[in-house]
Symmetry: C2
Subunit: 354 residues, 2 copies
């Protein structure tokens, strides 16, 4: 007998986007962080947090935070389950639903972690390709009838959102859980929460990492029918959310005005960034998110995307490049401030001139 | 097809110890928290933490914290892996090692979460009873040869520690991983870190919840051979430790003097508490931890332990009662301040008089 499970020995670890050393002077457009600081009310909650409270365990259900999230979404508190980032909730869902013989299904390209999580549970995973313009492969997804179907909406790395009517058809068509990974919903013109309310097999995941600018706090939550959350509750960590995250997260949720204002600025910058990249000859998909996917033009030469990625990195600008089928000629670029985006555009223009 | 795995539907959620509402006036001796506040240096790190840093993702490896822990234990940084509390590391170990056909083995009574984690992975679990004075059932544990063998050392709820020579024999005798759950090691006269250094299949888990008085921060770590940690790294969350916990935890680890001083006071109070309970007629096992296990005497009447637990609770004193075989006549009592312990002893004395 060996020490580890076969599936674990064979799998590769998920590699998150590069995090430069603290204090490094880079323009960081690679992991879809918000360019603006967290809400002043969240920062105040952090400053006022009494460190002596850390002596005791945190609330196992992070009730203060869940209450704040429930109010924002107009659902009872029992419809909210908090976790250590929305990745934690993704892992809980795969653990509760998938195993050998119970498959995980999702359209690709998308968030690579879905595959990693399926591999951890030795569960089969079926990757159904999106259409050329990221059209949802609805019929095939229904036909696969996964124990879990993940839909990142907006999707990463495309930035696009499948129409809600198609998500509804998916929810009707499959027996398993449909997970709307709505990490980027705060930058989007719509979301799937109404479907969550209407279909018991639909659950939405949200995070405070993007819209709320709290990626370093590790706080995410599920919005779902209490029958779904009761099952996830069985596999949750005893105290997944620390006391600081609970207090700061509750304050951030309570300041919707600030979040919306920042998201609005990001959307406006996104339009300008998209225009700038198009002007340089990239094909850019319409984005509902805080990043854009830009495809290098054939005239830019071989391996243009990777070459631009490397050159930008040397100049202190980080964007995301995925060396994977369908993505090798593309860059995923986080929307920064207008100034950062202008610097990026100028840097790419210079690279293309060479 | 149903939405969830059979093992998940059938299992019960782990129920952590009761957490009274914030501000409730109780003497809380039920979840083995430290009665003293966190290190002043940890509190200072919290106060000085710049909230704007939360905008970006935290360090995936919590390097600043791991560096501090590595220095304390005299190992290279690669021997430390941080998680969202040591429960997170327990879950990672079960996920990496156990599945149907690969069993989890541990002596009982012990931390109930080991069973819950095995159930989550549909892994068989073998519970080998401790001897009447919590002697390690070494031969049976070796004979079971688990993919993982958990030894809580000191053990909860007994407070006792199996001799290190027996742990060494166990490490030599099994093919799988031997996990020393050393959550309470800071209150103990010895620990298993030398075995970790000498045996590749031994890993120790530590937490900042007990000795460092940071239960609400959710921070734990594994000390293990890099080959073991590389495998656990595959199943870890991308960013398990938030930026605040990393900074505060590093500061706490850097203040060994404060931790040792508090642990020393707790050990001295433990001796007095043990004496007080013995004086009331309880049998109390010698404890290496920050709690004691007290067995009600036959002369105290039927269901004495549960009755005392209930009465204490009504009077605002929480202790832990496990309605389980072998524990029904016992109470697990956290060592509080001398004043809290004296109040407890007086309250029990009064209950026994009735």
């Amino acid at each position: 007998m060996t020490m580890y499970r076969k599936n674990i020995k064979e799998m590769a670890a998920y590699v998150p986007g590069e995090q430069p050393a603290p204090g490094a002077k880079v323009i960081k457009l690679n992991t879809n962080e918000n360019p603006y600081p967290p809400s002043p009310r969240a920062m105040e909650a952090l400053r006022e947090f009494d460190g002596r409270r850390l002596r005791q365990y945190s609330d196992p259900h992070a009730s203060a935070f869940c209450q704040a999230a429930a109010e924002v979404h107009g659902v009872p508190c029992e419809w909210i389950l908090a976790g250590n980032g929305s990745d934690d909730l993704l892992a809980m869902i795969v653990l509760a639903c998938a195993e050998p013989g119970r498959k995980v299904v999702y359209p690709t390209p998308t968030y690579v972690l879905y595959r990693t999580l399926a591999q951890m549970q030795a569960a089969p995973f079926v990757e159904v390709p999106y259409g050329p313009d990221f059209e949802l492969p609805l019929e095939q997804l229904i036909c696969e009838n996964g124990a879990v179907t993940f839909i990142a909406r907006p999707n990463s790395p495309s930035g696009t959102s499948a129409p809600l009517e198609q998500i509804e058809a998916l929810a009707r068509g499959v027996c398993g859980l449909v997970v709307l990974d709505e990490a980027y919903a705060d930058f989007s013109h719509d979301n799937g929460l109404e479907l969550v309310k209407r279909y018991q097999n639909v659950v939405a995941l949200r995070t405070l990492s993007k819209g709320y600018s709290l990626a370093g706090l590790r706080l995410g939550y599920a919005v779902g029918n209490p029958s779904v959350l009761a099952m996830l509750n069985k596999v949750k960590d005893s105290y997944p959310v620390d006391a600081v995250a609970c207090a700061v997260g509750a304050a951030a949720m309570g300041d919707q005005e600030y979040m919306s204002k920042c998201a609005c600025v990001v959307r406006s910058s996104r339009a300008k960034l998209l225009e700038g990249l198009s002007g340089l000859g990239f094909r850019v998909w319409p984005s509902e998110s805080n990043f854009v996917l830009a495809q290098a033009a054939a005239c830019m030469g071989n391996c243009a995307a990777q070459r631009i990625y490397d050159r930008l990195k040397r100049e202190g600008i980080l964007v995301r490049y995925f060396k994977e089928p369908l993505l090798e000629d593309k860059l995923r670029i986080t929307v920064g401030t207008d100034e950062q985006n202008a610097t990026l555009i100028a840097a790419i223009a210079k690279i293309l001139e060479c």
